[in-house]
Subunit: 485 residues, 2 copies
């Protein structure tokens, strides 16, 4: 249905309306409505601001030229973003303000210029903000090397150089605040070390796009996942010290909100955040070294068993609340809708992703000739004597649910066998880490696709195919992983 407002705008032919630059400049972040220009066109993006996937950082650009920001946040350089902008067209810049037919190209401060150096091996999906996945050969070990951990930044890496003096503010439900330096946390609370896998909600999104329909967002393959040994102090211990009754939560304490120094925010249900066996940590070390800048130095949250988007990096503030975080990333993103639903959904009707469903993926397929099978335990386990194909990968579930079985099919799902689950040194109260697995088939038995599906200890299993779990955001792409052979 076309609204009367839309009709009115159409009737007034916005492409012919002209605006002076000083009028555009007045529609900045202090105004009631937000305008930007791109090329020589003018847009009123007021209605878009609450839907912007990057949150309120968009307010930096309003009142001026949006192009220099898109040059920095290069993730915008695609048709889909242009199409969204065109919906908000209200007119053109008055030719009196153009120089040689062009609008002035404002200089803007580049918040990414202090982003750290990164391994060349990471597979970059967007450079500003940096989103880069772990290469397959680095997914082959239980612990992922820190510099090979996938990077998922929503904005820039905030320059927080001094680990000792960085301060965390905790606001309780009664409004009182208490501050801790990282040094306080390190010195005054018991340290805990756990292993935990972080996985982006978009891991394997490219598979959903290929096997169902197009999805928005970064097109990750199998590498938006990594496993790490994390050291820190329990959130539970710190909040108790700050004055919260962590074992008998007051009625008005339902969510714990977290805010990062770059403006990212998210929250976790209080029952999980404070669970004695939930292992939610304020982390300052990964794999025995200080956190890397991309992974939250000097302090981050680790909420194991939950989608990585809740483990807020560069942690600056914790708020004990009755409400979920009000951030874009809690309320308008990291949710799934039905396969029939599109972007005009009522966002409040879907639950924010917290614990994740069971997932698995193939990370390696290699042939081993029969003359090299002597002493190869895998060949013995599966009783193979001819040329074999070794298939390996990971399996993972949320909520601390362990992986109890991995079924692999050499022939596109016609027959199945059980993979060998590789022994590891998983640390923590529950199963927070992925399970690496391997299996071997006779080369003759391979047909069409190798397929993997995993089962967790609640006997949840992965969906067979993508169409029925398709969601337009492309989140939680967990259907069976099929690799042609």
């Amino acid at each position: 249905m076309v609204s009367s407002q839309r009709v009115a705008v159409a009737e007034s032919e916005p492409s012919r309306r002209l605006y002076r630059l000083d009028e555009i400049h007045r529609h900045n972040s202090t105004a009631d409505s937000y305008w930007v220009y791109y090329g020589t066109s003018v847009y009123d993006i007021t209605d878009w601001v609450p839907n912007h996937p990057g949150g309120e950082v968009i307010l930096r650009a309003v009142g001026g030229n949006i192009e220099p920001y898109w040059n920095i946040f290069t993730i915008h350089k695609k048709q889909e973003v242009h199409d969204i902008l065109e919906q908000y067209l209200i007119g053109e810049i008055d030719p009196r303000d153009l120089v040689e037919g062009k609008a002035p190209n404002d200089e803007v401060d580049d918040p990414f210029k202090k982003d750290p150096e990164r391994s060349d091996a990471l597979i970059v999906r967007s450079s500003r903000p940096c989103n880069a996945e772990t290469p397959k050969d680095q997914l082959e070990t239980f612990i992922t090397p820190s510099d090979q951990h996938y990077v998922r930044n929503h904005l820039w890496v905030p320059p927080l150089q001094d680990a000792e003096s960085h301060r965390l503010t905790i606001e309780l439900n009664d409004g009182t605040e208490k501050e801790y330096s990282v040094r306080d946390l390190r010195n005054n609370f018991q340290h805990h070390t756990i292993t935990a896998t972080l996985q982006c909600s978009g891991n394997r999104r490219a598979h959903m796009s290929a096997e169902a329909q197009a999805t928005s967002g970064l097109q990750w393959d199998v590498g938006a996942i990594s496993n790490t040994e994390w050291t820190g102090v329990r959130l539970r211990d710190v909040l108790r010290d700050a004055g919260l009754q962590v074992d008998e939560l007051p009625e008005d304490v339902k969510h714990i909100q977290f805010t990062g120094a770059e403006a990212y925010g998210a929250s976790v249900p209080a029952i999980k955040a404070l669970d004695r066996y939930g292992d939610v940590l304020l982390v300052f070390e990964m794999n025995g070294q200080p956190l890397m800048p991309d992974h939250g130095y000097p302090l981050r949250l680790l909420c194991p068993g939950h989608v990585a988007a809740r483990s807020v990096k560069w942690l600056q503030k914790i708020t004990v609340s009755e409400d979920e975080s009000w951030s874009q990333w809690q309320r308008r993103d990291y949710k799934c809708f039905g396969p029939n639903q599109r972007s005009d959904v009522d966002w409040d009707r879907a639950s924010s992703i917290q614990e994740t469903p069971v997932q698995s993926a193939i990370t390696s397929i290699s042939t081993i000739a029969k003359d090299r099978l002597a002493n190869l335990r895998l060949a013995q386990v599966y009783g193979l004597e001819e040329d074999i194909v070794r298939v390996a990968g990971y399996a993972m579930s949320g909520g601390g649910r362990g992986i109890i079985r991995v079924d692999v099919s050499p022939d596109n799902g016609r027959t199945w066998q059980q993979a060998r689950l590789i022994k590891d040194e998983c640390k923590g109260s529950k199963s927070w880490s992925w399970k690496r697995w391997e299996i071997a088939f006779s080369k003759h038995d391979l047909a069409k696709c190798v397929v993997v599906k995993a089962i967790d200890d609640s006997y949840n299993c992965q969906p067979e195919s993508f169409p029925a779990t398709y969601n337009f955001k492309g989140n939680l792409a967990t259907a069976w992983h099929r690799v042609p052979v």
Copy 2:
């Protein structure tokens, strides 16, 4: 591979070996090997005893005629059970002990003779032990009437007439014991009331058998599930009173074992059993009345979010342990294997079913003519003005994970719409109850099958079809429910 023992038996032609009755009688429950006879044939069932689905109750029959027990436990009267017995044939009864060609038919005590009267409306799947499902029209309300609650008895209903004097023994990990009467529990601990759905691991097994392959066990339709308001005291409070440190569990406390008065036993991981938000109760009331005899009178465990098999009825003993229950029902039953695995599995390699995966089913499909749509809210919600078909049912997940969405397809999975989740009065720390749902379609849009699938708040979803989740026990039959229209 045929073992040398098997070969030796075959060579000696067991069908011609003859045994005197007094020798058979000596192979009773006090002997090293267990013999029975059936008709005039003799069987050494020693190796079968640990695999018997009914547990050690089979020892009542050894040393004599098994037929009167099968007349009581009528669940045995099928070819599959005869086939198992034939594997253990060792010979024939000596004709000198036969009367007119028949062995004596021992009188045995019938433990079922004190089983209670039951509603005629229940759909009986086996009468001894009683296993009966809730009829579909009684699955239409949030709370199931107590006398319509599905019955899942592994053995008989033990005659425990005196609620006040029935005693519960608690054995701690250090071996110390403490006793409580039901009166003690009721008078000395805080009461809690929660709503929780119990579901048999075999619910919808008939669908798996029909859509994949034959399964063993009771062929339940959609009614091995019911929802109840339960009242009792927290297991956590009672175990703390008995001397257990419930918030900092000793290293050797991993499982809490439960034993019923009829000999049934099971266990639950200690972290769940003692979780402050786990709502594990020692229950004495259902729906505001004393427990019904079939449901555990005078005392049962309620472990919400877990498969019903862990909520032990007629509770007599609790053992705090490092080990899972050693019962048949913990170690040899209520497990799932891969679709390729058969009954020669290594039982210890599969996890016992505890929290259950997401499930849903259709319980009602009805047509409403267009002249009766006035004021029908459902028709308004879905914007329908022609003859409609209302589809309704339940959805449920384990572990306290709530149902966040129910997708229903009118055309065998080609298109989907979201069902309306019916508001209810769910009580407890987490989502322990099923969610009832309904949806309406235009009659014209129905094609082939109506299909339902549900999504829980960890975004777990049901498998599309049965073949890939088939397991020979037919447990956890949770594939999409398809009903032809």
